[in-house]
């Protein structure tokens, strides 16, 4: 049997191989980006056990990082303003349509469940979207999610630089890259800190509602424990 001659010119073969290499590189870049995205949302694809209660941060030394930003009514707010209260601090995007509305619902639920103790708690969130930074943006989300029922709710915004400094100080991740399935939205950490009355970070909560107890239950549990600790002192 006669061997088939290779009739593809060398130049065309080179172009073909180059295109193939470019395609492989594109796939690798896509994989790397997607893995980075998932790493930024550690709980988004992984179920958590029903025994999850958050990460205890008692070993962190020093006070929680301070900040001064504007809230949804344009008031200047700093962490020091809440000394003596327990602070629940999250990271939310006013444009987010997946996890943020559920987090906001759980803040409301926790506020309601705390009853009289709710007066000793402040609910704060950094704006994670550095392109929607106006007071109007965070007020619109506050109303849309119904968190304006919480008297101590402050959805914090500021210049992109000030916001990035605030997230960064807490190790929160907010991305300028879009979510893969929601190009109009940006990825960010599903992060919540519970800061005690003395301004120290005590718990880190990150749940994706795939198996862990409800976020509201975790908030209420830790807030009540901190308030009981204060009463014992």
């Amino acid at each position: 049997m006669r061997r088939r001659e290779n009739k593809i010119p060398m130049r065309l073969r080179s172009i073909g191989l180059g295109a193939l290499a470019a395609a492989i590189l594109a796939v690798l870049a896509l994989v790397a980006w997607y893995q980075w995205y998932q790493a930024g949302l550690p709980a988004a694809f992984q179920g958590l056990p029903s025994s999850y209660e958050g990460t205890k941060l008692d070993q962190l030394e020093g006070p929680a990082p301070g900040f001064r930003l504007l809230d949804q009514s344009g008031a200047s707010v700093s962490l020091a303003d809440f000394r003596g209260k327990v602070v629940v601090l999250g990271l939310l995007d006013p444009d987010c349509t997946d996890i943020c509305p559920i987090y906001a619902y759980h803040y409301r639920l926790a506020y309601q469940a705390l009853g009289q103790d709710a007066a000793k708690v402040a609910f704060l969130a950094f704006n994670s979207n550095d392109e929607k930074t106006s007071v109007e943006d965070v007020m619109a989300a506050t109303r849309k999610w119904g968190v304006d029922e919480i008297p101590t709710w402050h959805f914090l915004t500021g210049s992109p630089e000030a916001l990035r400094a605030a997230w960064g100080a807490y190790g929160m991740v907010a991305s300028s890259l879009p979510k893969p399935d929601r190009p109009s939205e940006k990825a960010h950490s599903p992060a919540n800190f519970i800061i005690d009355q003395a301004g120290r970070r005590r718990w880190y909560l990150s749940t994706n509602f795939e198996g862990a107890p409800p976020l509201s239950a975790l908030i209420v549990k830790h807030v009540k424990a901190l308030l009981a600790e204060e009463r014992r002192q």
Partner: protein, 136 residues
């Protein structure tokens, strides 16, 4: 070379498979903490942009009195075309995969559908509806 390309292509595809499934990111939040009798109902559907055929529904119930998921409830879903024509998908009963009650409907034509979630739990019974726009 060809074999390597195939392997790399799969490596690229596999991470995205997580986003296609029910517990990935390809879903649309339909209601959040809507009070239905004594429970709060959160519902999401997948895929995010439904096409004729399969629609996956996940419903989560929370008892605001205890802040616990309601696991022992019968949850079902039913869909009717929103244009008034005769037709129905379901009802289908849920299976529970903590903390979601999961259901699957087949919506056999494009257009608006009204999906109804029916809850029958130890402390509450009720219904909630939402609209789904299905494309071809």
């Amino acid at each position: 070379m060809r074999g390597l390309a195939v392997v790399l292509s799969f490596a690229g595809v596999l991470p995205f498979a997580a986003g296609v499934g029910a517990h990935g990111t390809d879903w649309e939040l339909r209601m959040t903490g809507k009070r239905v009798d004594a429970y709060d109902l959160t519902v999401r559907t997948s895929p995010k942009r439904p096409r004729t055929g399969h629609l996956h529904i996940e419903a989560q119930l929370i008892d605001p009195r205890t802040l616990a998921y309601v696991e022992h409830a019968k949850v079902s879903a039913l869909a009717r075309p929103g244009d008034g024509t005769v037709g129905q998908a379901g009802p289908v009963s849920s299976r529970y995969r903590r903390p979601w009650h999961e259901m699957d409907l087949v919506l056999n034509k494009s257009g608006a559908w009204q999906v109804q979630i029916v809850i029958d739990g130890p402390r509450a019974q009720g219904k909630a509806s939402f609209r789904v726009d299905v494309s071809n």
